[in-house]
Protein backbone atom coordinates (compact mmCIF):
# COMPACT_ATOMS: atom_id res chain seq x y z
CA UNK A 1 0.00 0.00 0.00
CA UNK A 2 2.79 2.39 0.99
CA UNK A 3 4.72 1.47 -2.13
CA UNK A 4 1.77 2.31 -4.33
CA UNK A 5 1.49 5.70 -2.64
CA UNK A 6 5.14 6.29 -3.43
CA UNK A 7 4.40 5.78 -7.13
CA UNK A 8 1.64 8.39 -6.92
CA UNK A 9 4.02 10.93 -5.41
CA UNK A 10 5.30 12.44 -8.69
CA UNK A 11 1.73 12.67 -9.94
CA UNK A 12 0.66 14.46 -6.76
CA UNK A 13 3.64 16.78 -7.07
CA UNK A 14 2.67 17.59 -10.64
CA UNK A 15 -0.92 18.24 -9.60
CA UNK A 16 0.22 20.62 -6.86
CA UNK A 17 2.44 22.60 -9.25
CA UNK A 18 -0.32 22.65 -11.88
CA UNK A 19 -2.83 24.10 -9.41
CA UNK A 20 -0.27 26.70 -8.36
CA UNK A 21 0.41 27.73 -11.97
CA UNK A 22 -3.29 27.79 -12.78
CA UNK A 23 -3.80 30.16 -9.89
CA UNK A 24 -0.90 32.27 -11.20
CA UNK A 25 -2.55 32.60 -14.61
CA UNK A 26 -5.33 34.66 -13.05
CA UNK A 27 -2.95 37.09 -11.39
CA UNK A 28 -1.99 40.38 -12.95
CA UNK A 29 1.79 40.41 -13.47
CA UNK A 30 1.72 44.22 -13.64
CA UNK A 31 0.35 44.53 -10.11
CA UNK A 32 3.55 44.98 -8.13
CA UNK A 33 2.94 45.87 -4.49
CA UNK A 34 4.00 49.39 -3.58
CA UNK A 35 7.03 49.76 -1.33
CA UNK A 36 5.47 52.86 0.18
CA UNK A 37 2.36 51.37 1.79
CA UNK A 38 1.91 52.83 5.31
CA UNK A 39 4.81 55.21 4.72
CA UNK A 40 4.40 58.98 4.71
CA UNK A 41 3.94 60.63 1.35
CA UNK A 42 7.37 61.49 -0.11
CA UNK A 43 8.39 65.10 0.40
CA UNK A 44 7.59 67.13 -2.73
CA UNK A 45 6.55 70.56 -3.92
CA UNK A 46 5.32 70.76 -7.49
CA UNK A 47 4.54 73.86 -9.56
CA UNK A 48 0.91 74.38 -10.58
CA UNK A 49 -0.42 73.56 -14.02
CA UNK A 50 -0.33 77.10 -15.37
CA UNK A 51 -3.60 78.31 -16.78
CA UNK A 52 -5.67 75.59 -15.15
CA UNK A 53 -6.77 77.97 -12.40
CA UNK A 54 -5.98 75.24 -9.84
CA UNK A 55 -3.50 75.61 -6.97
CA UNK A 56 -0.16 73.79 -6.96
CA UNK A 57 0.42 70.62 -4.96
CA UNK A 58 2.90 69.81 -2.18
CA UNK A 59 3.25 67.00 0.35
CA UNK A 60 1.77 69.02 3.25
CA UNK A 61 -1.45 69.57 1.25
CA UNK A 62 -2.15 65.87 1.69
CA UNK A 63 -2.72 66.10 5.42
CA UNK A 64 -5.95 66.46 7.36
CA UNK A 65 -8.25 64.75 4.86
CA UNK A 66 -8.41 61.37 3.22
CA UNK A 67 -7.22 62.03 -0.31
CA UNK A 68 -6.83 60.37 -3.68
CA UNK A 69 -3.74 61.30 -5.65
CA UNK A 70 -4.04 60.51 -9.32
CA UNK A 71 -1.04 60.49 -11.69
CA UNK A 72 -2.24 61.20 -15.21
CA UNK A 73 -0.98 62.36 -18.59
CA UNK A 74 -2.63 63.70 -21.71
CA UNK A 75 -0.72 61.13 -23.81
CA UNK A 76 -2.01 58.21 -21.76
CA UNK A 77 -4.97 56.36 -23.26
CA UNK A 78 -6.12 54.53 -20.10
CA UNK A 79 -6.27 57.93 -18.36
CA UNK A 80 -9.03 58.90 -20.77
CA UNK A 81 -10.89 55.72 -19.86
CA UNK A 82 -10.87 56.44 -16.14
CA UNK A 83 -11.49 60.18 -16.49
CA UNK A 84 -15.30 60.10 -16.40
CA UNK A 85 -15.04 58.14 -13.15
CA UNK A 86 -12.71 60.79 -11.71
CA UNK A 87 -15.27 63.44 -12.69
CA UNK A 88 -17.93 61.54 -10.76
CA UNK A 89 -15.66 61.18 -7.72
CA UNK A 90 -15.08 64.94 -7.81
CA UNK A 91 -18.81 65.66 -8.11
CA UNK A 92 -19.58 63.44 -5.11
CA UNK A 93 -17.07 65.45 -3.03
CA UNK A 94 -16.53 62.42 -0.84
CA UNK A 95 -12.73 62.67 -0.87
CA UNK A 96 -10.19 65.24 -1.88
CA UNK A 97 -8.98 64.33 -5.38
CA UNK A 98 -5.59 65.69 -6.42
CA UNK A 99 -3.89 65.37 -9.77
CA UNK A 100 -0.24 65.09 -10.71
CA UNK A 101 0.48 65.69 -14.38
CA UNK A 102 3.17 63.14 -15.25
CA UNK A 103 5.76 64.00 -17.92
CA UNK A 104 3.40 66.16 -19.86
CA UNK A 105 3.52 69.54 -21.59
CA UNK A 106 1.58 72.25 -19.79
CA UNK A 107 -0.42 73.07 -22.93
CA UNK A 108 -1.22 69.40 -23.65
CA UNK A 109 -2.28 68.83 -20.06
CA UNK A 110 -4.50 71.92 -20.11
CA UNK A 111 -6.10 70.79 -23.37
CA UNK A 112 -6.72 67.31 -21.91
CA UNK A 113 -8.58 68.82 -18.95
CA UNK A 114 -10.43 71.31 -21.13
CA UNK A 115 -11.71 68.43 -23.28
CA UNK A 116 -12.65 65.97 -20.56
CA UNK A 117 -13.21 68.20 -17.54
CA UNK A 118 -10.99 68.99 -14.58
CA UNK A 119 -11.83 66.86 -11.53
CA UNK A 120 -8.83 67.90 -9.41
CA UNK A 121 -8.84 70.15 -6.33
CA UNK A 122 -5.19 70.94 -7.01
CA UNK A 123 -2.74 69.93 -9.70
CA UNK A 124 0.99 69.47 -9.44
CA UNK A 125 2.95 69.58 -12.68
CA UNK A 126 5.66 66.90 -12.69
CA UNK A 127 7.28 67.68 -16.02
CA UNK A 128 10.33 65.44 -15.68
CA UNK A 129 8.61 62.67 -13.69
CA UNK A 130 10.99 62.98 -10.75
CA UNK A 131 8.28 63.23 -8.11
CA UNK A 132 6.55 60.22 -9.68
CA UNK A 133 9.75 58.20 -9.17
CA UNK A 134 9.73 59.21 -5.49
CA UNK A 135 6.19 57.80 -5.31
CA UNK A 136 7.33 54.58 -7.00
CA UNK A 137 5.14 55.22 -10.03
CA UNK A 138 6.03 53.18 -13.10
CA UNK A 139 3.24 54.10 -15.45
CA UNK A 140 0.13 56.21 -15.70
CA UNK A 141 -2.54 56.16 -14.53
CA UNK A 142 -1.76 55.29 -10.93
CA UNK A 143 -3.92 56.33 -8.00
CA UNK A 144 -2.88 56.48 -4.36
CA UNK A 145 -5.09 56.59 -1.28
CA UNK A 146 -3.58 58.87 1.37
CA UNK A 147 -4.92 58.92 4.93
CA UNK A 148 -5.42 61.97 7.13
CA UNK A 149 -1.95 61.68 8.62
CA UNK A 150 -0.48 61.94 5.13
CA UNK A 151 0.47 58.28 4.83
CA UNK A 152 0.09 56.25 1.64
CA UNK A 153 -2.35 53.43 2.35
CA UNK A 154 -3.12 51.97 -1.06
CA UNK A 155 -1.87 52.09 -4.62
CA UNK A 156 -3.96 51.26 -7.64
CA UNK A 157 -2.12 50.63 -10.91
CA UNK A 158 -3.98 51.29 -14.15
CA UNK A 159 -7.33 52.91 -14.78
CA UNK A 160 -9.81 52.96 -11.93
CA UNK A 161 -13.05 51.11 -12.58
CA UNK A 162 -16.46 51.23 -10.93
CA UNK A 163 -15.71 47.74 -9.66
CA UNK A 164 -12.46 48.67 -7.86
CA UNK A 165 -14.04 51.82 -6.55
CA UNK A 166 -16.97 49.94 -5.02
CA UNK A 167 -14.97 46.96 -3.75
CA UNK A 168 -11.67 48.49 -2.68
CA UNK A 169 -11.37 52.26 -2.72
CA UNK A 170 -14.70 53.42 -1.26
CA UNK A 171 -14.65 50.92 1.68
CA UNK A 172 -11.06 51.95 2.33
CA UNK A 173 -11.93 55.65 2.36
CA UNK A 174 -14.77 54.96 4.82
CA UNK A 175 -12.38 53.03 7.07
CA UNK A 176 -9.68 55.70 6.93
CA UNK A 177 -12.18 58.44 7.76
CA UNK A 178 -13.05 56.62 10.98
CA UNK A 179 -9.43 56.21 12.03
Amino acid sequence: MLRRLLFALPLLGFAAVAVWFLHGLGRDPAAIPSALIDKPVPEFRLPPLEGSGKPALAAQDLRGRVALVNFYASWCAPCRIEHPLLMRIAAEKRVALYGIAYKDGMAESRRFLAQLGDPYAAIGWDGDGRVAIDWGVYGVPETFVVDRAGRIRHRHVGPLSDDTMAKVIVPMIARLERE
Partner: protein
Protein backbone atom coordinates in the same frame (compact mmCIF):
# COMPACT_ATOMS: atom_id res chain seq x y z
CA UNK B 1 47.05 80.60 -24.72
CA UNK B 2 43.69 81.83 -25.86
CA UNK B 3 43.76 79.38 -28.71
CA UNK B 4 44.43 76.51 -26.32
CA UNK B 5 41.58 77.29 -23.95
CA UNK B 6 39.28 77.78 -26.91
CA UNK B 7 40.29 74.34 -28.19
CA UNK B 8 39.64 72.83 -24.75
CA UNK B 9 36.18 74.39 -24.59
CA UNK B 10 35.45 73.07 -28.07
CA UNK B 11 36.61 69.60 -27.03
CA UNK B 12 34.46 69.72 -23.89
CA UNK B 13 31.47 70.72 -25.96
CA UNK B 14 32.05 67.87 -28.40
CA UNK B 15 32.51 65.22 -25.71
CA UNK B 16 28.84 64.59 -24.88
CA UNK B 17 28.02 64.42 -28.56
CA UNK B 18 30.64 61.71 -29.07
CA UNK B 19 29.52 59.58 -26.11
CA UNK B 20 25.91 60.31 -27.00
CA UNK B 21 26.33 58.25 -30.13
CA UNK B 22 26.40 55.18 -27.89
CA UNK B 23 23.58 56.17 -25.54
CA UNK B 24 22.19 59.54 -26.46
CA UNK B 25 23.25 62.21 -24.01
CA UNK B 26 23.13 59.93 -21.00
CA UNK B 27 26.70 58.88 -20.38
CA UNK B 28 28.87 60.42 -17.70
CA UNK B 29 32.11 62.04 -18.76
CA UNK B 30 34.10 60.10 -16.15
CA UNK B 31 34.51 56.53 -17.47
CA UNK B 32 34.92 55.09 -13.95
CA UNK B 33 31.66 56.65 -12.77
CA UNK B 34 29.95 55.63 -16.01
CA UNK B 35 31.10 52.03 -15.48
CA UNK B 36 29.65 52.05 -11.96
CA UNK B 37 26.39 53.57 -13.19
CA UNK B 38 26.10 50.78 -15.76
CA UNK B 39 26.84 48.14 -13.16
CA UNK B 40 24.06 49.52 -10.93
CA UNK B 41 21.69 49.85 -13.88
CA UNK B 42 22.17 46.21 -14.81
CA UNK B 43 20.84 45.20 -11.39
CA UNK B 44 17.74 47.40 -11.58
CA UNK B 45 14.60 46.00 -13.12
CA UNK B 46 12.65 48.08 -15.58
CA UNK B 47 9.21 48.04 -13.97
CA UNK B 48 7.51 48.61 -17.29
CA UNK B 49 9.03 45.62 -19.12
CA UNK B 50 9.77 43.67 -15.92
CA UNK B 51 12.28 41.20 -17.35
CA UNK B 52 14.76 43.73 -18.65
CA UNK B 53 17.19 45.79 -16.66
CA UNK B 54 16.99 49.56 -16.97
CA UNK B 55 20.37 49.29 -18.71
CA UNK B 56 18.75 47.25 -21.51
CA UNK B 57 15.36 48.85 -21.70
CA UNK B 58 14.20 51.57 -24.05
CA UNK B 59 11.20 52.46 -21.87
CA UNK B 60 11.07 56.17 -20.94
CA UNK B 61 10.93 55.30 -17.23
CA UNK B 62 14.12 53.24 -17.60
CA UNK B 63 15.82 56.28 -19.14
CA UNK B 64 14.62 58.42 -16.22
CA UNK B 65 15.98 55.90 -13.74
CA UNK B 66 19.31 55.69 -15.59
CA UNK B 67 19.56 59.46 -15.29
CA UNK B 68 18.71 59.27 -11.58
CA UNK B 69 21.37 56.59 -11.03
CA UNK B 70 23.99 58.71 -12.81
CA UNK B 71 23.11 61.82 -10.81
CA UNK B 72 23.49 59.92 -7.56
CA UNK B 73 26.76 58.30 -8.63
CA UNK B 74 28.10 61.69 -9.61
CA UNK B 75 27.10 63.06 -6.23
CA UNK B 76 29.52 60.58 -4.68
CA UNK B 77 27.11 57.91 -3.42
CA UNK B 78 28.22 54.29 -3.21
CA UNK B 79 26.58 51.61 -5.34
CA UNK B 80 24.71 50.33 -2.29
CA UNK B 81 23.38 53.81 -1.48
CA UNK B 82 22.09 54.29 -5.01
CA UNK B 83 20.42 50.86 -5.02
CA UNK B 84 18.85 51.54 -1.60
CA UNK B 85 17.48 54.85 -2.88
CA UNK B 86 15.66 53.11 -5.73
CA UNK B 87 14.58 50.10 -3.62
CA UNK B 88 13.05 52.48 -1.05
CA UNK B 89 10.73 53.74 -3.80
CA UNK B 90 10.05 50.65 -5.88
CA UNK B 91 10.56 47.81 -3.42
CA UNK B 92 12.81 44.73 -3.56
CA UNK B 93 11.19 43.72 -6.83
CA UNK B 94 13.20 46.42 -8.60
CA UNK B 95 16.42 44.49 -7.91
CA UNK B 96 17.27 41.76 -10.37
CA UNK B 97 19.30 40.01 -7.66
CA UNK B 98 17.00 39.73 -4.66
CA UNK B 99 18.60 40.49 -1.27
CA UNK B 100 19.48 37.61 1.08
CA UNK B 101 17.18 37.97 4.08
CA UNK B 102 15.28 35.60 6.39
CA UNK B 103 12.23 35.74 4.10
CA UNK B 104 14.28 35.15 0.95
CA UNK B 105 16.47 32.34 2.28
CA UNK B 106 14.19 29.72 0.72
CA UNK B 107 14.51 31.45 -2.66
CA UNK B 108 18.30 31.40 -2.51
CA UNK B 109 18.57 27.91 -1.02
CA UNK B 110 15.97 26.26 -3.29
CA UNK B 111 18.38 25.23 -6.11
CA UNK B 112 20.80 23.63 -3.62
CA UNK B 113 17.94 21.96 -1.72
CA UNK B 114 16.47 20.51 -4.92
CA UNK B 115 19.89 19.26 -5.98
CA UNK B 116 20.48 17.59 -2.60
CA UNK B 117 17.00 16.03 -2.69
CA UNK B 118 17.66 14.69 -6.19
CA UNK B 119 21.05 13.21 -5.28
CA UNK B 120 19.56 11.63 -2.14
CA UNK B 121 16.68 10.20 -4.16
CA UNK B 122 19.00 8.64 -6.72
CA UNK B 123 21.31 7.27 -4.00
CA UNK B 124 18.39 5.63 -2.17
CA UNK B 125 17.00 4.16 -5.38
CA UNK B 126 20.39 2.75 -6.39
CA UNK B 127 20.97 1.21 -2.99
CA UNK B 128 17.58 -0.42 -2.97
CA UNK B 129 18.21 -1.90 -6.41
CA UNK B 130 21.54 -3.50 -5.42
CA UNK B 131 20.49 -4.82 -1.99
CA UNK B 132 16.80 -5.71 -2.06
CA UNK B 133 16.30 -5.95 -5.82
CA UNK B 134 18.98 -8.61 -6.56
CA UNK B 135 19.52 -11.07 -3.68
CA UNK B 136 22.65 -13.22 -3.83
CA UNK B 137 21.88 -16.57 -5.53
CA UNK B 138 22.61 -19.78 -3.52
CA UNK B 139 25.54 -21.83 -4.87
CA UNK B 140 24.80 -24.61 -7.34
CA UNK B 141 24.38 -28.14 -6.07
CA UNK B 142 26.51 -30.97 -7.53
CA UNK B 143 23.50 -32.18 -9.48
CA UNK B 144 22.99 -28.76 -11.04
CA UNK B 145 26.68 -28.40 -11.82
CA UNK B 146 26.66 -31.66 -13.74
CA UNK B 147 23.51 -30.70 -15.63
CA UNK B 148 25.08 -27.38 -16.57
CA UNK B 149 28.23 -29.01 -17.87
CA UNK B 150 26.10 -31.35 -19.95
CA UNK B 151 24.25 -28.45 -21.47
CA UNK B 152 27.33 -26.44 -22.45
CA UNK B 153 28.94 -29.54 -23.85
CA UNK B 154 31.64 -30.21 -21.24
CA UNK B 155 33.78 -33.41 -21.29
CA UNK B 156 31.35 -35.07 -18.87
CA UNK B 157 28.62 -35.19 -21.52
CA UNK B 158 27.60 -38.42 -23.22
CA UNK B 159 27.60 -37.14 -26.75
CA UNK B 160 27.70 -39.48 -29.65
CA UNK B 161 31.18 -39.04 -31.02
Amino acid sequence: MRMRSAALVLLALLMPAVSGAVMPGEQLADPALEARAREISRDLRCQVCQNQSIDDSNAPLAADLRRLVRERVQRGETNAQVLDHVVARYGDYVRLTPPLRPDTVLLWAAPALILVAGVLGIAIALRRRTTAGAPEAPPLSDEERRALRRLVGGDDGKRAG
